[in-house]
Structures are given as structure tokens and as C-alpha cells.
Amino acid sequence: MTPLMSLTAPAPDANAAPGPADAATVELRGLRRAFGTTTALDGLDLTVRPGELLALLGPSGCGKTTALRMLAGFEHPDSGEILVDGKDVTTVPAHRRDAGMVFQSYSLFPHLNALDNVAFGLRMRRVRTAERRARAAELLELVGLADKGDRFPHQLSGGQQQRIALARALALRPRVLLLDEPLSALDAKVRLTLREEIRRLQQELGITTLFVTHDQEEALSMADRVAVMRAGRLEQCAAPAELYARPATAFVAEFVGTMSRVPGRLLASGATVEVLGRRLPVDGTPPSTGDGADVDVLVRPESLGVTVDRAGEGRVLGTSFLGATVRVSVALADGTLVKADVPAHDAGRPAVGEPVRLTLPDRPVLVAPRAT
């Protein structure tokens, strides 16, 4: 680690995209941490590849923020280790970690203007004034706020504050960028633009980035890979498309996107399932519940077809207009609630109370043990 060297050395191509070759690899190995009786991390193993943006996704209290704070050096694991480029940094104090962090709440220093906020880290490293001015101005330009350098945090909007915070986190050219729900305090529109901007910057700089979020849409749209966490453990870590199409567990399936459970029956050999009056192959390994067992088939709303049919065993409970599609809630004969998306322009849109028939495409389906 030679942060001072890399800072003071002339860096003409500082912001040109460096290849993933000089980006850092981050490994979390068997991290455990308990706060009193609550276990925040229960043996977390995770590897972040050089230059990728990895989103840590999970419900609140699943330990994702704790994991990030451990990487930043603000929390210490009870056991396990944290490696950056193969070097154990578990005992390195936070200010020598070489990790830039953007916080959930506005964390700019209220007594400093935007430029000084960005230059704060350079000042701590005793970079000369002229140089840190230039570098801070360069970073403000990078986040599109070159003209706001003399504004104080209270004179800036939430979105602008988070951009400045991002510039500040990048000022020391950290090996790893840590984002702790940086968008959750912003309103919807700003969130979308800033999301794209963070992604653009991250790809431009090729910096290894960890992004904590509880918003699955955010995770799926921004990340190279998404790590879904639950109760302090990793459930699945995969590219967004794979996570959506082939969730490894029922938890992932239901947490990422919308999933309905349709009752089905596993047939002999366990390779086929009988659901909605037809037989479909099982995707992946079926739950070991034995032959003829009652199971739930997991289906995405967009893969269910809805047709009005007097003899259909479903009944429409309600519809909600989502723009391009209409989400139809259907109650099956046994009371199960299923959600299906039908195109909004479809003339044959079912009305509330109408009997309908649900259809599944001829594709392998995911199966989970029957929820009780």
C-alpha cells in the first residue's frame, strides 16, 4: 500500500479507465459477528472480482451493512478474515484501509464547502495545497458539479450532496469503493439518474465496488453480480439475469422479483411435476420430499397466462395497472393467491370476480417444498 506515492506521482491518465488488471480483489472468508444475542454475520464467504460492481442485497438485518462496514474497518469480525489482493487487512485500522466509502445519510462535513470536502482526504495525507485543489476540482468535474465547489452542504440538494460524497470517496484513489445504500435517502427521479451515474463512473474508473442495497431493482440494474444475503449468510451470488432466471433457493426466488407459489405434485423419479393440469419438467434438483409429494411450483408473473374461462378454477380478485402490463391477482380453488402479468393492451383483460384459467409455458419450472 503506497497511497502517498500514487497520489503525488504525476498521473496524467488518472481518470482514463485502468484495466481490471490494477483493480483489487476482495475476499471475505468465514466472517462472523454477533451483537449481543443477534448474529449479524454467520460465516459469510464472498469474493469480489477485480473491477466489478457487486451488489449486496437482502432484507434489513441480513448483515449486508455489517459486512460492508467490516470491509471499511468500522466493525471487527469475531472470526474470519478480510483479504484485499490476497493481503489480510482484518487488523488494519479504518484510515489505512484504502477504501472509499459513501454513506446512506448525508455525511459531508457541514463546516467545509464542496471543494474542501472532496479535498479532505488529500489534506489528511498532507498533499500540497495547489495539488489538492487541482485534484478536488478534477473530481468535482467528474461528478458534474465543477461549478458548485464553493457551496456548503446545506446549500446543496440531496443528490448533489451524494455526488460530492462520491467524489470525496474517490479522492484518495482507493482500491475499493464502498457504497452503503447511497441512494435510499433520495427521491425516485434523482435516484435513477444517480444510479446510472455511479455505474458509469465505476466502469470508467474500473474500481472494485461493493454496493449495499435492499432495493432489488437497484441491485439488478446496476451490478455485475448480485450477492443475496439472508440471516448473515450468502444465499446466492450470480449475475442479475441468472439470479432472476435461475434462483438457487426459494428465498432468492421470492426476494428477487415477484414469485407466486402454485401448488403442484411431484411425480415419480422427481423429474416431473404436475401443476395446473399439465406435466412439466423440474428445473434443477427437486426437493427431496419423495414421490407424489405436494410441492409449490415457483412462477414469475410474466410467465403465467390468464384466459377467461367459465370452467376455470381461478377467480380474479383484483387487477392493478402497471403501465405496460396489468397485474392480475387470482385466487385458486384451494385459496392460493397467484399473481400474473398480462399485457395492458390485451382486449381480453379479465374483470374482477371473473373465473379464469391459468396456463404455464412449456418450460422447466422451479420447485420448492410446500410452504406450510
Binding site: 497511497p3 471499511a72 474497518g73 468500522f74 485500522p93 479504518a94 484510515h95 489505512r96 484501509r97 477504501a99 472509499g100 466509502m101 454513506f103 445519510s105 455525511s107 459531508l108 462535513f109 457541514p110 463546516h111 467545509l112 464547502n113 471543494l115 474542501d116 479535498a119 479532505f120 482526504g121 489534506r123 489528511m124 495525507r125 495545497t129 489538492r132 485543489r133 478536488a136 465547489g149 464553493d150 456548503f152 460524497a165 470525496r168 470517496a169 479522492a171 484518495l172 464502498l178
Partner: protein
């Protein structure tokens, strides 16, 4: 503050004026009476003699200087004691906050007379039992009439409730933990983070804590009198026996001086520090 002094709606305006007038009356009438008493000499009309004589009166400057020195020392002790404690409380042990709050409020509950009686007892008891130890010299030193350290210690305790409130309000307004963590992720060590990221944002709170302490020390009488020292307040009371008019004149003066100090501190507090990176060319 800007939000508090926002333009009143038409419906509330008369009420505000009324309350303000009542408060002004309550405070200004006694003050005006004092001023009139000091300048109005029966038979001779207006005479500022009471004020001009102050400087010449024996003991004025030494007692005022002693009070100011005591105030400065007390402020230093209180801030050095409270600031690290309050910040540490926020960072590491938020659950202990009610305990510290109660401890800091305790001096309000104990009457000064009881407090000073306790101190007096200790000061008498100490030398008797410790006469053969080096601590004896300590007891003598803290009661040095030129600079009674024992008064600083007593005042520090008495200022705790006010200073703690002021600091707590300042800390409440900022997110100490996030500021410290943000500074640390920018490469600042913990002391640097506190010095560069937290303290500058507490300036208002530090100033008001200092000011409250200053006002308390300048006006404190009971403790100093009973322990036999002669700071400003004691001096005022002592001369009021012989020169009533002048003692009131001194009180009015000290009130004005205190206000002036408050204004200076307030002005100092609202000014932004010149930024270190952008201002140096």
C-alpha cells in the same frame, strides 16, 4: 435560528408583540430603575460620578481580573472534561447517556450552600489528617488567594449542567458517528477525525457552553464568599455597604460587559472559518 425567527403569520403577530412587550417590561424596568438610581443624584440632577469613580476604587481591577482568570480556567476545565466525554458517549456508549445526564444535572439539585459547606469541611479536615504527607502542600496550593484553584474546581462542577446541555444540543444537531467514519475513510486517524470533522461543527455549542460558564463564574457569590476569596461578585457586595450608588453602577456595568461578551461570542460563532483549501491562493 433562521427558522425560529421566521416571519410571523398575520394572526400570530399581535400576540408576539404582546409577549415581547411584557417580557421587555419585566426585564427593562428593573434595569432602568438601576440606571436611574446610579445617575440621579438628589438636588444635582444627572451625574455620572458613580461610573467614573469605579476605576479608582480599591480592589476593582484585581477582583475583576481574578474573576476573568477563574472564568477562563473554569471554561478550560469544563470543556476538556465534557467534550471528550460527550463525544465518546455518542460514539461508543449511547446507553450510558441517561447516567451522565443525571450526574451532570446533580449540581442543580444540591444547594450551593450545602456544596460549599462540604468543600469547607474537606478543606479543614484535609490538612489535619494529611499534615505529614506531601498532600498538605496541595491543600495549601489550591487555596492560594491569588488564584484559588479550589474555586475553579467548584465552579467546574456548578457549570456542568449548563455546559452539558449546550454541548448535548450541539451534538444532537450533527451525526457524530457518520462524520467520524467519513473522516476515517478519508484517511484521518481517530484524533484527527475528532479535531477536523467533529469539533469545527461544534463551535456554536462550545461557544455557548463557554459563555454560560463565563456568566456563572462572573456572577457567583456564595461559594467565593464563604470560602473567603474576593472575586468580582464578592467585591460588589462588599462595597455596596459603603457606597450603594457605586455598587449598583458596577452591577449595571458588569451586565453591559456580559452582554457585550455575548454579542462578540455570537458574532464569532456565526462567522464561517475561512476554508483552508479554497482560500489560500
Amino acid at each position: 435560528m433562521a427558522r425560529l425567527t421566521a416571519r410571523p403569520t398575520p394572526a400570530t403577530a399581535p400576540w408576539r408583540a404582546l409577549v415581547l412587550a411584557a417580557a421587555a417590561l419585566y426585564f427593562l424596568v428593573p434595569l432602568a430603575a438601576s440606571v436611574v438610581f446610579t445617575v440621579d443624584v438628589p438636588g444635582r440632577g444627572v451625574d455620572l460620578g458613580a461610573y467614573t469613580r469605579i476605576l479608582d476604587t480599591e480592589g476593582f481591577l484585581p477582583s475583576l481580573l481574578l474573576s476573568l482568570e477563574l472564568a477562563a480556567a473554569t471554561i478550560a476545565v469544563v470543556l476538556l472534561l465534557l467534550v471528550p466525554a460527550a463525544v465518546a458517549l455518542r460514539l461508543t456508549a449511547p446507553k450510558l447517556r441517561p447516567v451522565v445526564e443525571v450526574v451532570c444535572a446533580a449540581p442543580l439539585v444540591v444547594p450551593p450552600i450545602a456544596f460549599v459547606a462540604g468543600i469547607g469541611t474537606v478543606l479543614k479536615w484535609g490538612p489535619e489528617h494529611l499534615s505529614r504527607t506531601p498532600l498538605f502542600q496541595t491543600f495549601v496550593a489550591v487555596q492560594n488567594p491569588d488564584f484559588p484553584v479550589v474555586l475553579v474546581l467548584a465552579y467546574a462542577v456548578m457549570a456542568l449542567p449548563f455546559a452539558y446541555r449546550a454541548l448535548d444540543a450541539g451534538l444532537r444537531a450533527i451525526d457524530v458517528r457518520t462524520l467520524v467514519e467519513a473522516a476515517r475513510s478519508c484517511g484521518a486517524s481517530l484524533p484527527q477525525a475528532l479535531l477536523r470533522a467533529v469539533l469545527p461543527n461544534l463551535r456554536g455549542a462550545l461557544l455557548s457552553a463557554s459563555f454560560l460558564t463565563l456568566a456563572l463564574v462572573l456572577g457567583e457569590f456564595t461559594t467565593a464568599q464563604l470560602l473567603g476569596f474576593r472575586p468580582f461578585a464578592v467585591w460588589i457586595v462588599n462595597i455596596s455597604g459603603s457606597q450603594a450608588q457605586m455598587s449598583v453602577a458596577v452591577s449595571v456595568m458588569s451586565l453591559l460587559v456580559t452582554w457585550l461578551l455575548l454579542l462578540v461570542l455570537a458574532g464569532f460563532g456565526s462567522r464561517r472559518t475561512p476554508s483552508s483549501t479554497s482560500d489560500r491562493k
